[in-house]
Symmetry: C2
Amino acid sequence: MRKVFQEELQKVHEDLVEIAKLVAEALDRSVEAFTTADVELAQEVIAADARIDFLQTALDEKAIEILALQGPVASDLRVIVGSLRMSASLERMGDLARHIAQLARLRYPEKAAPEALEKTFARMAELDATIIAEVTGLLEDHNLERTSKIQAANAELDELHASVFRAIADPSWTGSPALAVDAALASRYFERFADHGVSVSRKVSYLVTGEWDGDNTSS
Amino acid sequence: MRKVFQEELQKVHEDLVEIAKLVAEALDRSVEAFTTADVELAQEVIAADARIDFLQTALDEKAIEILALQGPVASDLRVIVGSLRMSASLERMGDLARHIAQLARLRYPEKAAPEALEKTFARMAELDATIIAEVTGLLEDHNLERTSKIQAANAELDELHASVFRAIADPSWTGSPALAVDAALASRYFERFADHGVSVSRKVSYLVTGEWDGDNTSS
């Protein structure tokens, strides 16, 4: 019984890693679509999100089955409940990548990113890519040094997000209101992606150390 | 043992209802702050959100304790896991009410809502109020007729959300880019609030009927 249980737990863990890798791919492709106004690629990202949603549902069903059949307690129980929450965060990160692709599709053949903010968005995308890569690594190797990288990237993203709003409100902003809205939404999607990444990393830390340092997903 | 378990389940249920009522209050007050540019009220809503977050964490701890000590199976297990998810959705609805209050605080002494969209936002707020009232009722009485009201309100909200984006993109829009961004964000907060309400109502339906009709929280 114990062996079966450990195998099932291992399977849930592998599924989480697989979802994280699909999210990394979705982000990468949505950024490419957003940056180059590639409407076909945007369409592909949007369609591929269904796969992430499916895997999350399957993982959750598996986790609930383990709860029902094995009645885990203590740390095993927290791992299962933690997996349910991490899968929800990862699924949401996939949605946010999809939203970025949807912005690209909406504005095609124009670019959704205003020229004045191209560098800012490129940096935001890079930071999000770091975050999902580190989150995936953290799920795989539980090396907690990764969490400080994730938090540093998130802090820089928060700064950049605020700078986008300052740029839009500045009298020197010459873009249309619609372009301002696109920029604000894109910025928010990049920033929320990072928040969810931090949230996953905090859950891993908690499961590894037993210590909770709070959560800022909700901010 | 069984009696204790039912009492604990009942307690989780009451906590969910309490959180839903606090969310209804938060929405009501944030809309008032947003509509009248009442910065003090906005500040109160923002501060009060910590209480919702606290209750959610407490409910989740309680649910995990029940899983550990009682090892529920079948429908009881689904109720507990469903409660974890519903509490997350309700907490997120509280955050969205807080975000609306934060917009009001950010623009004070100006109003965050552009005059041309005042009626639209008033209707969106009304629909969200209907949704959280019906969600609270549904948690209390499990009367599934409420779900169609919730879905109808959500459909109207989606329409209004789209109309806000059309208004901003229209050449007749005369507001500043910053005002356009505020309007777009407010509209998104109202719309997401409704999505989470639908998500909670679907979970209640599922727990009552055993049938799942899908979920659109992620849209």
